[in-house]
Symmetry: C2
Subunit: 231 residues, 2 copies
DNA sequence: CTTGTGGAATTGTTCAACAACCTTCTAGCC
DNA sequence: GGCTAGAAGGTTGTTGAACAATTCCACAAG
């Protein structure tokens, strides 16, 4: 091993996390998180320990460990002696999420000046436009979330990225119960492009102002749609 | 019950969370979190399931549920097949925490204009100054964290408050292993006061600039002290 | 229509067991 | 001596069963 070039050793070290066998709890958590994000588990659904454990082929104790993680991620709600339920977002939650996104994403825009790390941002914008041409609105939604996560990642902060990923996962709870994804995502494709262009032109001040407007408008649209769908 | 004034019913509804009996997992999580914050469990300590479970009088399964929560809060590190360890913060972690604090706390300052919610901020400043007069540097540290959490709370966002609380809990991991708390906290008492005064004078622009300087300076001081203590 | 009451179902927690894994020590080899 | 392989012991990962406590639901009684 001593004769290997240091580059290769570094790559293997990076792979270590990937190939580390994962625990059952981890896999169960991932499966449930994906199912919730995909809308396969509707908001309010109760996740019975016995039924779910039987379906997934894991014990109640293992499942309960996974529930603790998902509850901390706010994707499920744990009610004492009653069980865990898929979270359902209210207008107040959506408003809170957008407020928090503003804090994190504007910090990303502010710290973008001069850094050559704009590639993921541009890539997400292009992916969204491409998906829109294909009429694949689910892919548009994915690209939109990827765009905003990339903006937050401009801070270079591991924690900001983790928080933002969690917030966007929560938002999927709201998207999952709403109809007409096109009306929800199409208007913002152009604005993502605009923000990306402003960043590329090193006009972070303008990009921040536009981002704030974007987030306020998106919040208004979603809250309005939620109140409308609620009837 | 129909004859009760609506005010009373509202108050009882608010009390509902308070009187809810707590689970064993919840109590264990709280105990461990407090012990870690107080420095009673040093960084790097392995938390043996059998030993800790025996000491606390809870089963391994219950303890493992608590571990999942603490790991998600980044207060412990869970290493597969090796156990959980009290987290130890490196300089990179501290830098990341301060970067994230900047995003959240400056948002608080920006949204403070005109709001009459400055009372908790002023209270924390006064508490810090009072504790400093008594030479109680542990209480000064408490008041300092309370001040910054109050600044974040100016956003009115539940999530920002939760994130900030988590970040400050993490920071205690670094404080716990450092000597001379006075040198660590005293220089910042005056600056907390200054920020609070700027907010009270509705000069949020200046308060934000000062807060950014504050956080950068604090980060530098702590990272320097960490490298120094590490030898 | 509200208030008890009983029973079924579910959660909260513990315990015991076993496989898988990590760490350490020992023995043997060059 | 220094290094490698392998055995031994201890710890974690996961399961299944058990029981108390609690919630939920239906139904009877006032």
């Amino acid at each position: 091993m001593d004769s290997s070039p240091p580059d290769l050793l570094g790559e293997f070290a990076a792979d270590r996390l990937l190939l580390g066998r994962s625990s059952t709890v981890r896999r169960v958590t991932d499966v449930l998180r994906d199912r919730i994000a995909a809308g396969a588990l509707r908001s309010g659904t109760r996740l019975s320990e016995e039924a779910l454990g039987g379906a997934l082929g894991v014990s109640r104790n293992t499942l309960r460990e996974a529930f603790r993680v998902l509850a901390h991620e706010r994707l499920v709600v744990h009610e004492m002696n009653r069980g865990v339920f898929v979270r359902s977002l209210g207008p107040a939650d959506v408003a809170d999420i957008y407020l928090t996104r503003r804090a994190l994403e504007t910090e990303g825009v502010r710290s973008a000046t001069g850094s050559g790390r704009l590639a993921p941002v541009a890539e997400a914008v292009a992916a969204g436009e491409s998906a829109a041409r294909d009429g694949d609105w689910s892919a548009v939604a994915d690209a939109d979330l990827r765009f905003h996560r990339a903006v937050g990642a401009l801070t270079g902060s591991e924690r900001i990225d983790a928080y933002l990923a969690g917030l966007l996962a929560e938002l999927r709870l709201a998207f999952a119960v709403m109809s007409d994804p096109r009306a929800l995502h199409e208007p913002f494709l152009r604005r993502n492009r605009q923000i990306a262009d402003l960043l590329a032109a090193d006009r972070s001040r303008d990009a921040e102002a536009e981002l704030v407007r974007y987030l306020d408008d998106a919040r208004e649209l979603i809250v309005a749609r939620m109140r409308q769908d609620a009837q």
